[in-house]
């Protein structure tokens, strides 16, 4: 008798797999990690500002007569009081006096840590780029549209450690400068050493961003072995919205530093720059009028793959993922703002989404639509008339909760009968409305039945706990919590 399991062992050999080049896989992985780190930095610092008595929230179109209100930075960790309390990024052209440009500059041996030198000339040149010679004036297109600049360095530091921050009129100007820098780096890789420059081998990694995501260029150079004193340079250039931060550090150690360490060392600068010059959650603030909702609240109870350091994936203004059969396009009105946090494989399939609408009625309408979708979904996908042999369907059970806040429980069952299950476990969804905000929490659980029950109980507890913090979105009385 033919044993099909013998054939099973040959399955892999019959495949014509077309994998990406390994370097491309690593490049994408590095980019994913950077974005995670960047959002993590902002997620830790940002809070959502709301007008307690008004109808406005964050960015987007507002229905009330109130002026647009943006999110505020929380008090800790804050790069500077001036940056967090009085900044108005739409017109923020200066660099606050206590902006942490030099926060990670160590005093080199033999140099007094107070000997930091500083240059605030707006038209200053870029310092220490690949292939540039000492004293060479390096500028790029877009540099004529700077509004501020600062360079900080340590006098007498043989290794040439310096930090530079440029602020431009807009993102386009900053982007032009960084694009030109990348071209210069490209040219440097294959070029002969220009007169006066130290012969060095350079390699770099480039990760482009956009208005809401940082761009990175990380380069490392080493002196070409010619019997001279070995010298290594780590250079990171990060564009955060309208700002560009340049960190250059030389050293004598031969081993190559992990790029990840270079990125992590600049987290404070990234965070501060984000809240001043990047579009997104750290927009304009009205601290006197606003109460804050710490957006990390919606991550409460999520597993944290980063251990002690929160390492969730945050996105802003993403559309609501499909819940039951209702896609985001089916919502009667779109939210004025939203935040989403996600934990994805390998850790778990779970996400939380906070959607804030212009009015409480709009939020109620959205909740009603989600409820209807779940009912209709069963009529569409759960009928045996469609294809009684096809188990690839989901059945949804609805459980209504009385009281305030109104909680809609949606359990998406992927065939409770294990023998017909195409994929394991079930999807648990909870939607809670408090005032003009909806929290949608979803967990895909693939454990045993007992594990599912425990997961459902924990999800309920998490949602109830978060709902208790959402009263800032309610006009008038709030009975949550």
């Amino acid at each position: 008798m033919r044993d099909p399991l013998d054939e099973l062992k040959n399955l892999s050999g019959n495949l014509d797999a077309r994998p990406l080049p390994p370097a491309e896989v690593r490049r994408r992985g590095n980019r994913m990690r950077r974005r995670r780190t960047a959002f993590q930095a902002v997620g830790a610092a940002a809070a959502v500002a709301v007008i307690a008595s008004g109808g406005a929230f964050v960015t987007g179109n507002l229905t009330s007569a109130e002026p647009p209100v943006g999110p505020a930075m929380s008090t800790s960790p804050s790069p500077s009081p001036s940056a967090s309390a009085s900044a108005a990024p739409a017109v923020q052209s200066e660099i606050p006096e206590d902006f942490p440009v030099a926060q990670d500059i160590d005093a080199p041996e033999g140099v007094d840590s107070t000997d930091l030198l500083r240059d605030d000339a707006t038209d200053q040149s870029w310092y220490g780029l690949p292939c540039s010679a000492p004293g060479q004036e390096v500028t790029f297109p877009g540099d004529d549209r700077r509004t501020a600049a600062r360079r900080v360095w340590v006098e007498g530091d043989f290794w040439g450690k310096s930090r530079q921050l440029f602020v431009y009129e807009d993102h386009v100007a900053a982007d032009r400068a960084l694009t030109a820098l990348k071209k210069a780096a490209d040219a440097c890789l294959g070029a002969d050493t220009p007169p006066g420059a130290q012969p060095m081998d350079w390699n770099y990694e480039w990760s482009p961003g956009n208005e809401t995501t940082p761009s990175w260029l990380i380069a490392q150079g080493s002196t070409i072995a010619d019997g001279s004193h070995p010298f290594f340079v780590d250079l990171t250039v990060t564009q955060v919205g309208r700002s560009v931060f340049v960190s250059r550090s030389g050293r004598s150690q031969k081993e190559r530093l992990p790029w990840q360490r270079l990125e992590d060392s600049h987290e404070a600068v990234l965070r501060a720059a984000w809240c001043l010059w990047m579009e997104g959650p750290c927009g304009s603030v009205t601290p006197e009028e606003s109460a804050s909702f710490d957006k990390e609240t919606i991550a409460r109870g999520l597993p944290n793959p980063g251990g002690d350091v929160p390492e969730w994936t945050w996105t802003e203004d993403d559309p609501l993922s499909a819940v039951a059969c209702g896609g985001p396009e089916n919502l009667p009105s779109q939210p004025t703002a939203s935040f989403r946090v996600e934990v994805s494989p390998p850790d778990e399939n779970a996400w939380r989404h906070l959607l804030v609408f212009g009015t409480e009625q709009a939020a109620s309408d959205a909740l009603r639509q989600l409820r209807s979708s779940a009912v209709v979904c069963n009529e569409i996908l759960g009928t045996s008339a469609d294809d009684p042999t096809d188990p690839s369907e989901m059945r949804w059970s609805l459980e209504e909760y009385d009281g305030s806040p109104a909680v809609l429980g949606i359990d998406g069952l992927v065939y409770a009968d294990d023998t017909d299950t195409r994929v394991p476990g079930r999807t648990l969804t909870r939607v809670v409305q408090v005032g003009r905000a909806l929290l949608v929490a979803q967990l895909s659980d693939s454990s045993s039945a007992a594990g599912e029950d425990a997961a459902a109980a924990k999800l309920n507890a998490d949602v109830a706990s978060i709902a208790g913090e959402m009263c800032v979105f309610a006009d008038g009385s709030c009975e949550a919590g």
Binding site: P4, N14, L15, R33, R36, C325, G327, P345, S446, S448
Partner: protein, 169 residues
């Protein structure tokens, strides 16, 4: 795991993992996309990968979870089930036996299919299958036995009553 080690690991295991995920979810193109994405996440989470005793199992589990997640999202959005688990085969030529086997595997309940693939295709002992799928060893043995019997039946080789007593290491 440095870049060189990762590249070697990736190059050596990619096709094998695509084959395994293909057998689990029944769609080769989807399997390839999920394995590709899992390797991107592996490099992105390389600290976790270094801690894992079996990096290949880490990537396999991640790829499988990605496939499940994508399938759920597809069904929930009411798009045609054109991704994982769809009853179609990719354009590339596959042998008739290969196609028949994949189709038969798709008829198995998910739990049995995954156990079969992990044990017979990935050569994992039962105890490791139990660890990877999060169920007791006895459950794995039962799934293997029933899955093998069902597979033989689906491939037209009879009910295979003689296989009832098959044992698993």
């Amino acid at each position: 795991m440095d870049a060189e080690e990762f590249d070697s690991f990736y190059t050596a295991s990619f096709s094998r993992l695509v084959g395994q995920i293909h057998a689990m979810i029944g769609d080769r193109d989807e399997a390839q996309e999920c394995v590709q994405e899992a390797f991107v996440r592996a490099w992105s989470h390389r600290r976790q990968l270094e801690k894992a005793h079996a990096p290949e199992a880490w990537v396999r589990t991640t790829a499988y979870r990605l496939a499940v997640s994508r399938w759920r999202r597809t069904v929930r959005a009411r798009r045609d089930p054109d991704r994982a688990l769809q009853r179609r085969e990719s354009a590339a030529e596959l042998s008739p036996d290969h196609v028949a086997l994949v189709h038969a595997l798709r008829e198995l309940p998910e739990a049995q299919r995954r156990a079969i693939v992990l044990h017979h295709m990935c050569d994992l002992p039962v105890v490791e299958v139990a660890a990877e799928t999060g169920v007791p060893v006895g459950t794995v043995k039962a799934r293997l036995s029933r899955g093998r019997t069902a597979l033989m039946s689906l491939l037209g080789d009879g009910p295979a009553d003689d296989l009832e007593g098959v044992s698993h290491a």
